[in-house]
Amino acid sequence: MNQITNEPLDRQADKTGQDKPPLLYDACIIGGGVIGCSIAQALSRYDMRIVLLEKNTDVSEGTTKANSAIIHAGYDAKPGSEKARTNVRGNRMFEAWCRELHVPFKRNTSLVLAFSEDGIKGLAELKKRGEANGVEGLHLLDRSQLQQREPHVSPAAHAALLAESGGICCPYQLTIALASQAVQNGLDLKLSCRAGRIRRHQGVFEIETSKGVVRSKVLINAAGVYADEINNQLSTYTFKITPRRGEYWLLDKSASDVFKATLFQLPTAMGKGILVSPTVDGTLILGPTAEDVTDKEDVRTTQEKLVEILDTASMSWAEIPRHQFITAFSGLRAHADSNDFILGFSPDVPGLINAAGIESPGLTSAPAIGQELAEMAAGFVQAGKKNSYQPAYQPAVPFREMSHQQRHQAILKNPQVGRIVCRCEQVSEAEIRDAISRPVGAATLDGIKRRTRAGMGRCQGGFCTPKVISLLSDELQVSPLALTKAGGRSQILTGRIGQIDLDHKENTHHG
């Protein structure tokens, strides 16, 4: 990276080779997770030039893709906190938001389980806290009421708190839909574009990126686990974000109808507990653990924590079918040292808006945060709303969700609908091609997975990977050798058959 000089950054670092200075945006969002994309979608309603910088090859590649996917009722957060306020507000907005974006949402309710007499008191306190936060539809259930609602719940559960407003969604589909709608409405989405050094010069933020300098009047920091690095370059009001890793197990669809509700465990001295929840995709999720790590990219799973999940989850579900596991994964929550969301204008840097420390219930809060911060940004540049606004892109109904009649008609119109590429999740060739060519389309195997579920089923891509590679290659007009799992150097293939790599041979020795 260049040394900072007194010269405006664009003169030294803009590599576009064009004479005119780079575009001045009204707002620049750093981070393409659910928060950044929610803000972008809300901002794209305003008459503003906006840009979003995402360091990965796709939106939703960080915390957003690997969390519990729960829409929390709001009984958990401390009354008066930003978490509590935006959670309850976000929960009320969520269903309509998902409908507008054509992404799945299900109000499956939440249950907090207590495993002792003491726990019953704890549930009552939780209910009181929820009511203080403005949560409606909280009820205490005794054992028989609980068993009636969830016959497979462990008999060890004494009682439960029912939260009617608890729900589940698909965070990455949601985020992709937000990004697409924003792009359709003028967002300049820069993928594989990492923000580096930032300074504010004559009222303009100048952000060095891997694709040149970006200039903007407002800077919105939605950089997840990196939000401290963005803020602390500019503001004296510094904060620290600790990546807190959570590991998960995912079970096959054949276990999907075991529970209707998301089962939480009442936090005890032993820990926060592990949830067991259906997902909107019909699988079942167990997790998360909580472990502070130092590396902001360290999304390993570990033997120890994978065992811990099973041990703890078995309190809620006594007979976890271990042969039904299809995968394990982990994600990092962005935990702020203040233990609350950091939302709004920086006290000392005009035009800097933070959306930082967004850990749970951040997904639930996302629609509220997006709307509120977009209003702030628009107010700062005194922008009004646009007259027209493009509705969200609506992908074709997935094959697995069509009726038989719909399938037949759709195939007669487009034979690719009848070609099933991913057998486990019944994903058609038409869906995969659409996932690539749609706004904010997929360019990687993981991108296809998140948009279509191809490769997310019980065989985990064993059968469909070669077919998806050839479809990506065909639609993007690139060699299969250039295709990656998730960008960067994550190439799937290393060469062609018959081309022996001589350099490689010389450098190795047979043992």
């Binding site: 197990w249 995912l250 999304v299 390993r300 799973t301 570990t302 033997q303 994978l306 042969h323 596991f325 299809i326 995968t327 394990a328 994964f329 038989h404 399938r407 037949h408 195939i411 007669l412 034979p415 609908v417 009848g418 070609r419 099933i420 057998r423 019944q426 019980r458 065989c459 985990q460 891509g461 064993g462 059968f463 990977t465 070669p466 590679i469 050839s470 299969p480 050798l481 990656t484 799992k485 998730a486 960008g487 960067g488 150097r489 994550s490 190439q491 799937i492 293939l493 290393t494 060469g495 062609r496 058959i497 018959g498 022996i500 790599d501 490689h504 041979k505 190795t508 047979h510 043992g511």
Partner: protein
């Protein structure tokens, strides 16, 4: 080889739907609504092809093979190594050659088939819902169904190997398809976890193509593949087979950079942390087990056995749902395609006998489960097929004079042991075996004459001798 091109030129416009005799891919002819077909064979791999051929030869003229790939032959199409057909054809063929023998038999008889067609649903009353690009969605009412869907590979996620989720990790079957059918190399420095036959075959294949196969790890004290493959695919190329070893961690953020391996206690399979060491590699291929693909069977209400994860069947390959049969790797994972073919021929014949009996009104529930004798997995025996012997069907004409074949695996390596079959307490068969390993299925042929005993309650198969380790 593209059988579609060759055959779609043939069909005559006046041929009635599903009519036999033209040896063709019929996708262009089928139209809604529901078709009635006596026998639907789900799967056009080696099991489905053999079942269809023998059903035809047993007199069935209304049958249909459903295949989801673009061509018949199943997994054999990507198995370009030789060693197939030694028992069936007395010669060593490659996978595609073996498949083409059966495909030719199907074509010669004019057995209709649908490629690029996936069976989405199967109901208990044998309605099959299929989908394909050319015919759309279609319901077929079958008189009888043969399940021949094969199996899939166990993925990493099912094992829960910890570590990162980078590129460079795939099952050996996926790597085999990429290299043999698509022409791409999955990696350069390769570690193989699991010593199943595909893992062994791919160790050799990748070596041929210039990759370095660093090791083949096996958590058990013995290889789960055939001995001939251990010799010809590993030993001949100096690839170490590390028994009692597994992968305990995966490293690399984007592409795989290495794996941590460790020894395990041979008795408990607990990891021995002091033996952990890292191997730098860019590819991890998994050959850690095959799972019969029984999603359709489950939908139809077919009972599955825990030990095979395939349908519970009797010696005629009949599941517990009348008229639904199963054969090949969907039933239990075989070592040799020759045995898949043999089993599937029996299933095809049995399904046709059942159809004939049903047409004559001879099938009633009472007759069907007249006298089902369980085959019990005794000491040392796992994954026995069939799980029941049906003794009481002479009235329906379902019984045959053939011997009844029973297959199973041992739970360890037995040298100089014997297999003993007991009808209740009475020993009816004892076979000495020089060596029995879990990687090689043990097959027995039982004499029906010795079992025609109305008082018989159970057959038990057990191993005499002690299992040894490592």
């Amino acid at each position: 080889m593209d059988e579609r091109k060759e055959t779609t030129q043939k069909p005559a416009a006046d041929t009635p739907c599903l009519a036999p005799g033209s040896g063709r891919d019929i996708e262009a002819e089928l139209q809604p609504p529901v078709d009635q077909v006596d026998l639907v064979v789900i799967g056009g791999g080696p099991a489905g092809l053999a079942a269809a051929v023998s059903a035809w030869d047993a007199g069935c003229r209304s049958l249909l093979i459903i295949e989801r790939d673009d061509r018949l032959g199943g997994i054999l199409n990507q198995c370009i190594h030789n060693g197939f057909g030694i028992f069936r054809f007395n010669e060593e063929l490659t996978g595609p050659e073996y498949a083409s023998r059966y495909i030719e038999e199907v074509k010669r008889r004019g057995i209709p088939y649908l490629c690029s067609t996936m069976a989405l649903e199967l109901t208990q009353d044998k309605r099959v819902i299929v989908v394909s690009p050319k015919i759309g969605l279609k319901q077929i009412q079958a008189g009888a169904v043969i399940l021949a869907m094969g199996c899939r590979e166990r993925p990493r996620g099912a094992l829960g190997i910890p570590g990162t989720r980078c590129a460079g990790i795939m099952t050996t079957g996926t790597a085999q398809r990429l290299s043999n059918l698509e022409g791409y190399m999955p990696g350069r420095r390769i570690v193989i976890l699991g010593s199943g036959d595909i893992g062994l075959i791919m160790a050799r294949r990748m070596t041929f193509e210039g990759a370095q196969v660093l090791a083949c790890l096996e958590i058990m004290p013995y290889s789960s593949g055939l001995t001939r493959n251990v010799v010809q695919c590993l030993q001949d190329f100096d690839i170490p087979l590390m028994l009692n070893h597994t992968v305990i961690d995966i490293h690399g953020k984007e592409r795989l950079e290495g794996v941590t391996i460790a020894g395990v206690n041979p008795d408990t399979r607990a990891v021995l942390p002091e033996t952990a060491r890292r191997i730098d590699c860019d590819t991890l291929l998994l050959s850690v087990g095959l799972i019969p693909e029984n999603e359709l069977s489950r939908q139809a209400g077919v009972t599955l056995a825990d030990s095979t994860r395939g349908p519970v069947v009797d010696q005629y390959l009949a599941t517990e749902i009348p008229g639904i049969y199963a054969c090949g790797n969907v039933l239990h994972v075989h070592d040799l395609v020759d045995e898949v073919s043999a089993e599937s021929h029996r299933a095809g014949q049995a399904a046709v006998r059942w159809l004939e009996a049903e047409k004559k009104g001879l099938i009633t529930r009472a007759v069907l489960k007249h006298h089902a004798v369980p085959v019990i997995e005794g000491k040392g025996v796992r994954g026995v097929v069939p799980q029941f012997i049906e003794i009481g069907q002479p009235d329906a004409g379902l019984d045959v004079k053939d011997k009844w074949r029973v297959g199973f695996r041992t739970d360890g390596v037995y040298k100089g042991g014997a297999v003993v079959v007991k009808a209740d307490q009475k020993q009816i068969l004892r076979q000495k075996k020089l060596i029995m390993t879990p990687g090689e299925m043990v097959l027995l042929d039982l004499d029906p004459a010795k079992l025609a005993d109305d008082a018989l309650k159970a057959l038990t198969i057990e191993i005499e001798g002690e299992a040894e380790h490592g």
